[in-house]
């Protein structure tokens, strides 16, 4: 039973972690991407559609990536080039994603929701590790995206904190005009961050449909993108912190299944609401001490 809980925790944590890693990079460059939810949703839908019609999981993954990148590119054009209000633009993209995925979904599959399921992504057992008691199947017998998500954590951590690349990214997010003065192209870096994040968020969405649910329902992302935003804050804009926060939320989300099995008298809605309420409570506690990149959310134009 603990095994099942761990398994679910990792399942829930993976898409959040992927999206959060992407958002970390974006926020380090100074952009606040509220549209992350929309990118995830589009990634989820188009990944499934491509996998279903193209009979290829790989095609599905690629299309999921493309969808995430497309949404983020649209945001980039708005907030980097046009320097518009990032919150409103992001929200518009969330609505757009709901609309586009809904329209295309019903066009392809009709309102009856004739289930278009696919065979899910195969699991890859990591040798003897997969046979460990309790943690084995949960951690080491998963699909490729899970390994990717967790494997990226040290990579992102190293890239952002210890390389020159990461330094320039952080400079852009701290003080764009100083970065510009030193020859670091603020626009280029923010675009790059958004594209990279689009890849990761698209993959997060693809995970939802290709590995987790094996099908698509409207609004399947269910706010996970927003949870990723909170995870970035909770993780203090640090990849390892993100990992911890993602697992925390994954566990909170997994609780709903665990407790249903336990048959407690607590209503299941409590557990569905838990991650979101938890976010708010932790932010209220942490709020005064959070130190985001100094220029986060401020549109930047050259004088």
């Amino acid at each position: 039973m603990l095994e099942a809980f761990l398994f679910s925790t990792i399942s829930m944590a993976t898409p959040i972690l992927l999206a959060a890693l992407g958002e970390l990079i974006v926020e380090r460059s100074g952009v606040l991407n509220i549209g992350i939810e929309g990118a995830m949703l589009c990634g989820a839908f188009f990944a499934l559609a491509a996998a279903y019609f193209g009979h290829s999981l790989l095609l599905g993954l690629l299309c999921g990536i493309a969808a995430g990148v497309a949404i983020n590119a649209l945001l980039a054009a708005m907030v980097v080039n046009l320097a518009v209000n990032q919150v409103v633009a992001g929200t518009a993209l969330d609505i757009l994603a709901l609309g586009v995925s809904g329209v295309f979904y019903r066009r392809f599959f009709g309102v009856t929701g004739r289930a278009f399921t696919i065979t899910p992504m195969p699991r890859i057992a990591l040798g003897p590790l997969a046979r460990l008691p309790i943690v084995g199947p949960a951690l080491f017998d998963r699909d490729a995206l899970v390994y990717l998500a967790f494997g990226l954590v040290p990579v992102v951590a190293w890239l952002v904190s210890r390389t020159r690349l990461g330094l320039r990214l952080r400079a852009v997010g701290e003080r764009p005009e100083a970065a510009d003065a030193l020859g670091v192209n603020v626009f280029a870096w923010r675009w790059t961050a958004l594209i990279v994040s689009g890849v990761l968020t698209g993959l997060a969405g693809a995970y939802l449909t290709l590995a987790y649910a094996d099908t698509f329902i409207e609004g399947i992302s269910a706010g996970r993108g927003f949870v990723a935003l909170a995870v970035v804050i909770l993780g203090r804009w640090n990849a390892w912190g993100l990992l911890a926060a993602s697992i925390l939320f994954g566990a909170a989300m997994a609780l709903q299944f665990g407790l249903q099995a336990l048959g407690t008298a607590l209503p299941y809605q409590l557990f569905l609401a838990l991650p979101y309420a938890l976010t708010v409570m932790v932010l209220a506690g942490v709020g005064g001490h959070a130190r985001p990149p100094s220029a986060l959310g401020e549109p930047y134009s050259r004088a």
């Binding site: 709901l98 609309g99 706010g223």
Partner: protein, 370 residues
């Protein structure tokens, strides 16, 4: 030209200029949607015709358009008021739900009351529920530095779950057959006029509130303070404005307006609570408010426009086989196009308000010295 004449001319030019952007944005949005439709193999003409027919084709359609527009006026006003104070309230959805919840909870208990009092009570409950939910986010921001974008987003989901729990649990109808609440007392129902139309006083109330909101924002000291805060929080410190109170108060009012929309829905249309309440009115309201340029008086016609789209979308599905959620695409495009048009205007507003509209400035720490 006399000074007064010049002022009048300038004023009318200003009105024309003000209307130009929203109309152009709508036209551009429709054009883009037409392209999408062509890509899907549907005919834009057919779709547009179906939309218009569905929204205004006959008397019943027209009344239904008004009915569908009513919640949008309430939530649109909620957004307009909050955004004027640079409070990015993305939680109108949750505030509407909480308002409906309170209304649906006290509704069944109002049986013995006189009709006007019962209606006032149920609507007041709606306002209170939403106001509490909005004030919560406002307090979190002013006292605990929690960015309101994230808190209101999260509270949306929490509200949804509270509603779900309520209709499955404590508020479930006596028969316990279906997850819905007991019906509200007949005394608390908003009367429907000209059956089978569902026309009710909700829209009238909404219109009155639009005028009241306009008066609040532009004719009172509090409204002036809120608008100053939204445009230049740095200077607001120098004016001795009580920023904490303004924040909580504005969020409470915003939430209350949205909650009232939920209350009206329960009192007039649904008469009870179901698990699914809003098809996204809280988000659609953003498009409504932006199209209305955050002017409460403009929210009414813009809400009717989007209500027409919502109403006509069912017919659009039947006639052209296109999903009704297409209207969400239109909503999103309108917002994006307006943002793009405003790229100059919003830039001025943003430069003016410094870091206020951002996480760093307003959510997490004091504005850094420029």
């Amino acid at each position: 030209m006399s000074a007064a004449g010049a002022t009048r001319r300038r004023a009318s030019l200003a009105i024309v200029a003000a209307l130009l952007k929203p109309i152009a944005a709508l036209a551009a949005a429709f054009a883009l949607v037409a392209i999408i439709l062509l890509g899907l193999g549907a005919s834009p003409i057919l779709v547009l015709a179906a939309l218009v027919e569905g929204a205004f084709g006959n008397w019943l359609a027209c009344t239904e358009t008004i009915v569908k527009a009513t919640p949008l006026v309430f939530t649109g006003l909620a957004i307009a008021v909050a955004f004027e104070g640079a409070l990015w309230n993305i939680g109108a959805e949750g505030q509407l739900i909480m308002g409906a919840l309170v209304a649906g909870a006290i509704g069944p208990m109002l049986g013995g009351w006189a009709h006007p009092i019962a209606v006032t009570a149920i609507l007041a409950g709606g306002f209170a529920g939403g106001a509490m939910w909005g004030a919560l986010a406002g307090w979190l921001k002013s006292a605990r530095n929690v960015n309101e974008v994230i808190s209101t987003l999260m509270l949306n989901f929490v509200a949804q779950q509270i509603l779900s729990w309520a209709v499955h649990g404590p508020l479930i109808e006596p028969a316990r057959a279906y997850p819905k609440s007991a019906p509200i007392a007949a005394a608390a129902e908003l009367q429907l006029y000209f059956p089978p139309s569902r026309l009710n006083l909700g829209m009238a109330l909404a219109a009155v509130l639009a005028v009241a909101s306009f008066a609040l924002l532009y004719r009172t000291t509090i409204g002036l303070q809120l608008r100053a805060l939204g445009r230049n929080p740095r200077a607001s410190r120098f004016f001795g404005l009580r920023i904490g109170w303004l924040t909580v108060g504005a969020m409470a009012l915003s939430g209350g307006l949205a909650g009232l929309g939920g209350g009206v829905q329960v009192a007039a249309i649904t008469h009870r609570l179901y698990e699914s309440l809003s098809p996204g009115w809280g988000f659609e309201a953003i498009a409504v408010a932006l199209l209305a340029r955050l002017n409460p008086l403009g929210v009414v016609p813009c809400a009717i426009l989007f209500g027409a789209l919502d109403n006509g979308s069912q017919a659009m599905q039947r006639a052209a086989g296109v999903s009704p959620v297409l209207v969400q695409v239109i909503q999103a495009l309108v917002i994006l196009i307006l943002l793009a048009f405003d790229a100059g205007l919003f830039a001025a507003r943003r430069r003016e308000s410094g870091a206020a509209s951002t996480l760093a400035g307003a959510g997490f720490e004091e504005a850094r010295d420029a």
